[in-house]
Symmetry: C2
């Protein structure tokens, strides 16, 4: 087989950049289950969702049929500021591992938010602006989403209120300052500023917070202020749609060189990066046009797919959001404070949950010290200090490449490198000092979480 020489980095030309998002729901026979009203248990209607979310985003959330959705011009302009993201051939890592595998990664960290989150932030901010709103509220975990949203809001002159998971707020003061540079207000969550925050604090004094808590607070804030809506950085189908830009670009870049991946790997918290990366490839698989192995990698300390249950559950800890059918650990689940970085959500996007349930995708969990080992190994040869979240995918990619070394198979591996770890040095320091440790929830702890699932 003759093969074009693959460069270290493949950048699409500006005129090759995608102009449409890819909606993988169009290819699914079993559509994701609808969101349910937490009071009536009936499917949420557009009008109901529009009290919380922007109109156009609700339309995208509910659209299971349109395969391609046009990206508005203004968003395309913003994308040109920091995209295309490079598709990198990890020659140096391959050499270090002495593997016959060919490793590629789509790197989304080359922007100030430090991650892929900006792809959806600009879309959500844009539709809020189009709707004539004053501002948006949101939660942030590791801080990447909040940073991304504050950047998008600054660009569009929109107010931005961020509830930041308390342990991240404290561990990552610099992220907070970046958000402030972009004009956002940042509140540690749970806070005394919302009813739900006060309730959570009363029930769990001293809690370091969770994404679920922060979501509840941001939703309450949005619905109590005139001209505000809530936006969310992951979990929702609309976010997965916006993040499909990752997969569409990656596929175009691979296609240019006639490369077809065998294995596609992404870290999985709420699922948006993984879902975005795999969307166009999964579309081919669902239509029977190609086959790929997809691997979702999650932290052993928050194993929603590998140890959770597939059931309707609240999207937030405060139980004010709609119910979603997904793999979940229970909306009350809060990962150990020992867990560093993001990927701390109790559930999983419903599209990915359905695909996993239907056997189109694998999932595995990895422990954080092995994740940081992979991160450091990667940093030293590929020159990029990865985010802890992204390093879950690196761990799995290295493991798969090492399997190829044993078997001699020349598999092509593609993984998503979602972001950089510049604001995660506290975690790296713990790792270097041997103070990190792993925490895997016991079966009893998980059962306690499942006991809190809605029953009907």
């Amino acid at each position: 087989m003759s093969e074009k020489k693959i460069p270290y980095k493949i950048y699409l030309e500006e005129n090759e950049m995608p102009k449409q998002w890819y909606n993988v729901r169009a290819d699914m026979k079993n559509k994701p289950a609808p969101l349910l009203n937490p009071e009536t248990h009936e499917p949420m209607k557009a009008e109901e969702l529009e009290t919380v979310f922007c109109k156009e985003l609700v339309k995208q959330e509910l659209d299971d049929d349109s395969r391609y959705i046009d990206i508005p011009e203004k968003i395309l302009g913003f994308y040109k500021m920091y995209r295309p993201a490079p598709l990198v051939r990890a020659y140096c890592l391959e050499e270090k591992l002495q593997t016959p595998a060919k490793i590629y990664y789509k790197f989304e960290g080359n922007n100030t938010s430090g991650s892929h989150k900006l792809n959806s932030a600009i879309a959500q901010a844009y539709y809020a602006k189009e709707q004539g709103l004053k501002g948006v509220t949101t939660e942030t975990g590791a801080g990447q989403w909040g940073t991304a949203l504050s950047m998008a809001c600054a660009y569009l002159d929109l107010d931005c209120k961020v509830y930041m998971v308390k342990c991240s707020y404290e561990q990552k003061p610099f992220r907070r300052e970046v958000m402030r540079t972009y004009g956002a207000s940042v509140t540690p969550s749970p806070s005394e500023m919302t009813e739900v925050g006060r309730q959570i604090l009363a029930a769990h004094p001293g809690t370091t917070g969770s994404l679920g808590c922060a979501i509840s607070e941001a939703v309450e804030a949005a619905t109590h202020m005139e001209g505000y809506r809530y936006v969310l950085g992951s979990v929702l189908n609309q976010v997965l749609l916006h993040q499909s830009i990752i997969g569409v670009e990656a596929k175009l870049a691979l296609d240019k060189y006639g490369v077809k991946p065998d294995i596609i790997i992404g870290c999985a918290g709420g699922g948006s990066n993984l879902g975005g990366l795999i969307s166009p490839f999964m579309g081919e698989k669902l239509r029977g046009e190609a086959d790929y192995r997809f691997i979702a990698v999650e932290p052993a300390s928050c194993p929603s797919m590998t140890r959770g249950v597939f059931a309707y559950d609240f999207c937030d800890t405060g139980m004010v959001c709609p119910l979603s059918k997904m793999y979940t650990l229970g909306s009350g689940f809060i990962p150990s404070s020992n867990h560093a970085g993001g990927l701390r959500y109790h559930g999983m996007n419903s599209v990915l949950s359905q695909l996993y349930h239907d056997g189109y995708m694998e999932a595995r969990s990895v422990e954080q010290t092995s994740v940081f080992e992979a991160a450091e190994q990667f940093a030293r040869v590929e020159g990029i200090l990865p985010a802890p979240e992204s390093s879950h995918a690196i761990r799995a990619a290295i493991d798969e490449a090492l399997k190829c070394k044993e078997t001699g198979e020349e598999k092509t591996i593609l993984f998503g490198l979602t972001g950089t770890g510049y604001f995660d040095m506290v975690a790296y320091e713990k790792f270097h000092n041997g103070e990190m440790g792993d925490y895997i929830p016991t079966d009893e702890e998980l059962q306690a979480g499942f006991a809190g699932l809605p029953k009907w």
Copy 2:
């Protein structure tokens, strides 16, 4: 005039990437004055320099004649890891400023060291490795150079000992951790670990350090350990040579679209980024083939070109290094602790000093609050949070673009965006809280510095 549509970002293809550095000294009629032995005041011989620096680097330091110097294959491989750096057309900034000027910037921050410093770090580490050394010592100010060197050393499996200016060591603990991630040892300077450090501490108790002090310590450490040499991130001609990759790439990218800049702007501390950016353009100017305006931008708190003298001076505070003829504030000059970030060196690279002296280049100084205003303005529209150092160039570029707005001239401005400010959030926080302030040394303070210049 018909003009090809310029994309937001111009990336060279891998096969278009330069394979040679550009040595602008070859084009200079008045060569930079030679380094002098601090004891004999005679020009330093290669053998003398080789006790401190690697052999091949000494050759490059002294080579005033070769216009092109081949980049070794191993370094080209490393460059491919994080280069080519994009040349960005600042459409969003132009729109925000409503200027007819066309603004381009060469962005060097898309790598984990966060700056252009990596371009020379890998070169210097490579030649140390080739020479069979065990390791290298160095100083770092803002931390960018130390990070870059630790990355290069990790890649080549070379030991790396970094003396970090104390105020940066304390203000930027995260940079320190990045260096440790790459296996470097980091010591705050001045330290008790060297003779010169102890002397400086005795003379200036409680000093927050300076690049000059840290250089002295690193040089002493290198010359007192078997198998070590000293490497330096700026100031030297060899560094300017390695950094010419910036200018050569920028010129190739502009040439692809038939664009010729009118004004080329770089921030100036020791001069390596500025020198690297302008090298091939300056070559054309010196040969009379083209004309460009070059503007060096330095902090008002450390104004070596705009308020210094052109004289032989020590490169370091401890007066152990060779003497260089350069624009200097005196080797005892230490900028106010109020000054944030790098660009705190008392002197200037001798090539740039000579070119400035001969009228081929302009210089201006800017105050730091106006620099951070420019930084924030830039971040909000271009989506990149710039390093304080780089923001000096942004300030001048914006000022030039605003002049065009007044005059209606459609000038083309190119500036160097040397790095990102992710590790400078303490300074940004001060700026946001109105606690930053400006400090401009008085004439009396400068005279005190000049009084310390060597006399003979």
